[in-house]
Each structure stands twice: as C-alpha cells, then as structure tokens.
Amino acid sequence: MTKKNAASTTYTGEKLEISNNIRTLRFFANEMTQQQLAEKAGASRQTIIAVEAGKYSPSLELAFKIADAFGVPITDVFEYRRADEPVEQVEQEK
C-alpha cells in the first residue's frame, strides 16, 4: 500500500483525515511536474506542494480543478476517513 499524505480537519465535531493521490497521479501523467499541475489548476506551485504534502486542504473548487487536470473524478484524487478509523476498513468499504 502506498503511503498517502493526509491533512486533518474537523467537521461536525468529528476529526477527519483527508489524504490524496496527487503524487501517484502525477507519476502516471508522464511524471507531470508540480509547476505544470499548478498551471493547469490555476494555483501557485506552493499551494500544490502544500496540498500534495497534506499540509493544506484545498477548497472544493481547487480540488475539482486538480482532478480535472488529471482527467479523473475527484474521488480518485482525494479520500477521507475518520481519524480513529483504520485504513484497512476504508479500503474494504470501497
């Protein structure tokens, strides 16, 4: 299983962990650079670095733009799970 960078966020009192597959998707998109992704998504390179590292949870708009840049649905780029929920359980639910 690949290690995903995750950002923690609290929603309705429940701690959620949002992880992303941007690094993997960039790899499969002919090793797209962060700069190229930033240009496609209309964000700065700094923001893409932060999102990819799980240091920043993007807005819905930016999340859709990132997904659009790879030509995949948003759920292929971002995933979320409750902080206390084991990763295996989330994988099984899929």
Binding site: Q35, S44, R45, Q46, A50, K55, P58, L62
Partner: protein, 165 residues
C-alpha cells in the same frame, strides 16, 4: 524558499529596519534635548512622517526585490539551459506570483496575529498611562505595537507556509 516566503522575509526585514530607524530618530531627538518627551505635536508629526516613509520605502523595496528576482531567475535559467527568453520569464513569474486561495487564507490567519499585537500595544499604552506615564507613551505604544504586529504577521505567515494551514 518560495516567492511568497521571500516576499514575506523582505517585508519583515523592511519593517524591522523602519521601526529601528524610528526609535533611533525619535528617541534620539528627545535624548538630545531637541524635542520634549511630552510634546504630542512632535510625536504625532514624527509618526506621520514615518508612516509616509514606510509606504514609499516598501514600494521601492518591492520593486527592487522583483527586479532582483527576475535577474536571479534569468541567471539560473542561463546556467541550466543556456538560454532565457522573455516568454519563459513571464510564465515563471505568472505562476510564482499567483495569489491563490491558500495565500489568502494564510494572509487572513496571520493578520489576526497582527491585530492581536496592535491590541496588546494599545492595552500596554493605556496601562502605562494609568500608572502615570506621559500621554506620548500611548502614541508610541500603539505605533510600536502596529510595527511589531507587522513583523509578527510575517513570522506567522512563514510558519503557515512551512507547517501548513
């Protein structure tokens, strides 16, 4: 270090130097006996002049900073690829200087730190007056509070850029 971080560092250094210049000039005048410590007109005039100087200096520093950024990028590109055309320079600057949602979020969060510092400055000034300090102390405490707040805002921005929002 990204463009935004470099810009923040430059702004912080400028702010610190301007605050130091204000303290050296204003308190130097009082110590030399050229102005009375309780002369509110002197303090108000000095602060207004320094606010004007700060605006002009910040604009000049930002222009110089952007010129130096362009020159350093050009040199770096020439070393790497042997060529640097205007189109690539423009494209680089457009993506580097784009202010997006994360920058706005960081700006909002760090401005809260600046407001807290300015508020503390005001509170300290009021408390000092309560304990018998001159009225000019309040003016100085507010000005220094705002200036330190701007520096604290920069520190908070750098922290958010490094650690995440």
């Amino acid at each position: 270090m990204s463009y935004q971080e470099k810009k923040t560092v430059v702004t912080m250094i400028t702010g610190a130097l301007l605050l130091a210049a204000y303290c050296i000039y204003a308190f130097g005048q009082v110590q030399a006996g050229l102005a009375a410590a309780d002369n509110l007109t002197f303090w108000a005039g000095t602060i207004l002049v320094f606010i004007g100087i700060s605006i002009v200096v910040n604009i000049i520093i930002q222009i110089v900073f952007h010129i130096l950024m362009a020159v350093s990028y050009g040199i770096k590109q020439r070393k790497e690829t042997g060529d640097c055309d205007e189109a690539s320079l423009n494209r680089h600057f457009r993506t580097e200087t784009t202010e997006d949602e994360m920058d706005k979020m960081i700006s909002l969060k760090s401005s809260r730190v600046a407001f807290v510092c300015a508020g503390i400055g005001f509170g300290v000034g009021l408390a000092m007056i309560l304990f018998g300090a001159a009225a000019a102390t309040l003016i100085n405490a507010v000005y220094i509070g705002f200036s330190l707040g701007a520096i604290a805002e920069g520190i908070a921005q750098l922290r958010f850029y490094r650690k995440g929002v």
